[in-house]
Every structure is written in C-alpha cells, then in structure tokens.
Symmetry: C2
Subunit: 170 residues, 2 copies
C-alpha cells in the first residue's frame, strides 16, 4: 500500500511559500490509517515502553492509536496553559520568536521508557523540546517517531543522538 498517495500537498499553508503536507486523506481512509499505525507499531514491537507521549494536536491522533496498539499508556504534551495539573514547561525557538510545550509533573516516573510521537518532523524544534521534558522528569527516551519527515529541513540534525524513525520521508 502506497501511503504517500494519501498525503496531500496544500500550497501556501499556513503562510505563503510553505507547502503543507496534509495527512487528513490518510486518516480518513480506514485501511491507510490502520496500515500506517501498524507499520509504526511493528517498528517498536518488542521495545520496552511505559508510555507514548504525543505532541498536541496531530501527534495525539497518531500517538493515541499507537499507544493502544502497543498497549502502553498515553501522555499528552500540550501548548502552555492547556494541561490542568502542575506542569513543567520547555521553550523552543521558531523562525521568529519562541514557543513552548508543557507536560504534567506526574506524567512520568523515573525509569519510565517513553516513545515521543508527532505527526511530522520539520525543523525538529518541538520534538527536541519534548525530549527535554521527558528527561527532566527522569524518563528514558526510547525514541522519537513521526508519520512524515520533511528531510530537506534537516530536523534529524537537531535531533542528533536520538533514535528517530519516520514512516514516510519527503
């Protein structure tokens, strides 16, 4: 099954000059969706994992389905102010300015093995911040998984030293 056929290019989104990779056609197709999650799950079969941490919002879609398949817990990493309990925050730089993500302080116990999941690897800034959050809570980062990687943005360089896996590379 050629999963790349289900990824749609949207020119000039979210701003002029950017070609956005839209994964909603893949999610909408039950066979493509199940196949994508199955391929990701196979990659981590046999890996000891406590939980999957998904990055808001599209990382929730991939991460939750993967957590259920691998029979792990699921931890949401969210934009500032969205998580209701005590949190820690990690900032990261964007092209212009900074952004941040948060995790609940009790999401991870020391020694937990966490797989970080997002839909897309672009410059790697958000994933780098997610990895920091996991380690700051004493978690062991088992790897970082993406459905899509935009290789020309060299996000893997920013994630050097991590076990990065992406299903579809453009």
């Amino acid at each position: 099954m050629d999963l790349k056929k289900f990824i749609r290019d949207i020119p000039d989104f979210p701003k002029p000059g950017i070609i956005f990779k839209d994964l909603t056609p893949l999610l909408k197709d039950r066979d493509a969706f199940a196949t994508a999650i199955d391929h990701l799950a196979r990659h981590y079969q046999g890996t000891r994992l406590t939980a999957i941490a998904g990055i808001e919002s599209r990382g929730f879609i991939i991460g939750s389905a993967l957590a259920l398949t691998l029979r792990t817990g699921f931890l949401p990493l969210r934009k500032p102010g969205k998580l209701p309990y005590k949190t820690i925050r990690q900032e990261y730089s964007l092209e212009y300015g900074t952004d941040a993500i948060e995790i609940h302080q009790d999401a991870i116990a020391p020694g937990d093995r966490i797989l970080l999941v997002d839909d897309l690897l672009a410059t790697g800034g958000t994933a780098r911040a997610g990895a920091e959050l996991i380690r700051r809570l004493g978690g062991e980062l088992a790897g970082i998984a993406f459905l899509i990687e935009l290789a020309f943005l060299k996000g893997r360089e920013r994630l050097a030293g991590e076990q990065v896996f992406s299903l579809l590379t453009f």
Copy 2:
C-alpha cells in the same frame, strides 16, 4: 475495573469555581486506557460506521484509538484556521460570546455514517456544532460518544434527538 478512580478533580481550572475533570491519569494507565476504549468500542460493535469524527484536542485522543479499534477512518474537527484544505465552519454559543469549529469539505461523502467523539459532555455546545457540520456535508450521524458526562450541566438536553452514549457519568 473502576475507571472513575482514574479521573482527577482539578479545582478552579480553567477558571475559579470550575472543577475540571482531568482524564490524564486514565490515559497514562495502559490498562485503564485500553479498558475505556474497549468499552466504548463494544457499544458500537456491529454498527455500520464510515468514520469517527474527533473534536480537537482531547477528542482526538479518544476518537483516534476508537477509530483504529472499530476499523474506521478518522476525521478531525478543529478550531478555526487549523485545517489546511477547504473547510466549512459552525459557530456555537458559549457562556460569554461564541466559538466555532471546522471540518474539511471533503471529509464526508453523502451517505457516510459518522460517529462523533469527544472526551467530555458538558453543556453540549461543541458536540451540537459538530453534529451540524456532519449533516451539512450529507453525513448520517450514527451517534455521539463521550468518555465523561457531567450530567448536572444537562448537555443531553442540548443534544436531544441524538443517540448519545457516555462511559462515565458524574
């Protein structure tokens, strides 16, 4: 398994006087998470469904895992401006002011049977708007499912006429 034990009360979130139902302890526990999704899935076993529509953001977590379990597609309903392709929008009233959600115009074909999913039924405004979006695209609404229902907010009344199912009622 008493799933209610995994729902945590957070006082004064997101604002003073509100007691927020935090489901992250349930998501974090792999058995509780799998049990919750399994219970939801059993309720719809045998129902003809084309796709599950999940409402951003926590509805993505429940909806995606449920879609994989029931082997349907998954459709994201998102805050305005987040979906990259052509959308339609539905506004709904809040205590003060209005908010809106959007769906891709090509998410649903006439005759598709859609299950709408969110984490929590409070006043029912968001779910009502989601139901409208599904019908405006020619979809048939098979039901609306929630992990948690806050019965004292009477959201079911706002969803009168719909097939509403919630797993945990407070």
